[in-house]
Symmetry: C2
Subunit: 338 residues, 2 copies
């Protein structure tokens, strides 16, 4: 049976109904009946071919929730009927050093769900079993999709950077990733300072779990924070006053990026040495960390704040995101199979 | 009794014999009969008032070895006759968060041996007991001095950055710090790549324990290293091809600075994210890490390669260092008391 999907035939084009034959299910693969699919800003970047690696027809979508329909030869860990999710990666080599170390998200040849293959704005999607993660009881497929890309990207640093509940944590940017990071930091047990330049987001950030909100474009407010934060997570992708953020780090503090800021960050070495500070980045998260994220969200009853569009209104949903109006993540509900 | 020393009366001036009355020994202090004192490049920077914080008459010297002569009230951990050493710091507050965490080298109000007080180019020096570290059997006071500033600066990152014996480590700059860092990395159990732009240092680096030597100004050689090093320690203080060093890091790799590179390092965020890489710095080391360094050097029979001058020839020794001729650290032998 063909897979029914929404595809663009050219960069920046509207999405239109599109069908393709997936061929036989390969060994190791899992076929998922898509229930919902989140929209991530990187779907727009790929649609627009911003990164020069898009192929058309292009089916976006890499924040999938759904139910396993079928499994290929050799798949023993998933079975038809399982509630699952799928994110940015759809296959890792399973043999390289990062894969063998549990860092499948650092696999240099990992297959990406919407790069050179069709994504989750569809009724069906396939992926290699290692990246198809069970959805725990307590998580709703209608809202959990964004955990599989935006969520894991914001959560992984807490694990990778050894953030501790005694730490004073800053979250920079209260958007798709940041609004989840604030919740994670709060439930992680930390004292949370949200940084936003949108005055309107202060109350929302506090509702999400921020203990303090600071306008990162207010130099005086930034100066007051000098030496006070153990960990600052940057989810924004615009250039901010990085020296002020580095100054805000406590001794041994770390400034960590998950937002792909385009302009290089000019790092003065002397303050890094004197305060034993660091600057780092991380991409997404491993399958194990994804499973831990899902369990953490289910236990604490947290997750993305979503707006839902039927998949048939995908172009309206994309326009809503493009206009910067998403509060905070958009999820498409599959009505193709209706 | 007055302390006899060598002091400059103005920035960049020659050092001349100088005496001063130290007054009564304060509670918590230890008085050391100086046997030897290393010369560090920061002695020159302070002599020249490069950092705008020098006071004259200025007595340099913060890589002291010697023997305890007397202890002040309340000192229970050192006693007359103990063989000891003293480095960059001469007192920490012992009450702030870093001090209370064992990070006395990050104490914001720590007293520095040659800042606002007289250093170790003298027959006698005093310091607070916490920074007067016993010299283990097996270490020679005639050569151990440089461990207390250059040595601990190069050793501390191995402890702070969780460098493991399975790591592939790069040491950038084979000078005063780097020639010790190569030895530390080798005895730490690591595979060691030394980076130098001086062709003549290749054989020496290998003799010190480097398994490979790479010219960091050779772009083709640098490109070949892409993704291969877990930890790169920068002991140089000049601008190098930092993007090539970041590219040389393996996934999860770290580029760590102890050399106070003056120009900001332009950090492209995307490669940091994709490879989960980090950049960091650290200053000197704590008293406990200093003790561990000394034990490590004694056990492995490693340490600085030194040239010795009598203290009375201090101006010749400083000129030798200024000319970039030191191989690799200069030690002054106290002949004031002779």
């Amino acid at each position: 049976m063909p897979i029914r999907a929404y595809a663009a035939t050219a960069a920046k084009g509207d999405l239109k109904p599109f069908e393709f034959e997936p061929g036989p299910l390969a060994p190791g693969q899992v076929e998922i009946a898509v229930s919902h699919c989140g929209i991530c800003h990187s779907d727009l970047s790929m649609l627009d071919n911003d990164w020069g690696m898009s192929a058309y027809p292009f089916v976006p979508g890499h924040e999938v929730t759904g139910t396993v329909k079928a499994v290929g030869a050799g798949v023993t860990t998933r079975k038809p009927g399982d509630r699952v999710g799928l994110g940015w990666f759809s296959k890792s080599c399973m043999t390289c050093r990062p894969c063998m170390s549990g860092d499948h998200n650092l696999c240099a040849t990992a297959e990406q769900t919407i790069v050179g293959r069709h994504g989750g704005f569809a009724d069906t999607i396939r992926a290699s079993a290692e990246w198809v993660t069970p959805l725990p009881a307590g998580l709703d497929p209608a809202t959990a999709g964004p955990l599989f890309c935006g969520g894991i990207t914001a959560f992984n640093p807490f694990v990778q950077c050894d953030v501790r509940p005694t730490h004073r944590v800053g979250i920079v940017g209260i958007g798709g990733l940041g609004h989840m990071a604030v919740q994670f930091a709060n439930k992680w047990g930390c004292e949370v300072t949200a940084f936003s330049s949108s005055a309107g987001k202060s109350d929302e950030a506090k509702k999400l779990g921020a203990h303090h909100v600071v306008n990162s474009r207010d130099d005086a407010a930034m100066a007051k924070l000098a030496g006070t934060l153990d960990f600052i997570l940057v989810t924004a992708n615009v250039t901010l006053n990085w020296p002020a953020f580095i100054a805000a780090l406590a001794p041994k503090g770390r400034l960590h990026f998950v937002g792909a800021v385009l302009e290089p960050v000019p790092v003065a070495v002397f303050p890094m040495i004197m305060g034993q500070k660091s600057l780092s980045g991380s991409p997404l998260g491993s399958p194990v960390t994804t499973a831990d994220l899902l369990a953490f969200c289910a236990r604490h009853k947290i997750g993305p704040v979503t707006e839902t569009f039927p998949m048939s209104k995908v172009n309206e949903a994309l326009a809503h995101l493009r206009a910067g109006k998403a509060r905070y993540r958009i999820v498409l509900a599959n009505d193709l199979s209706a």
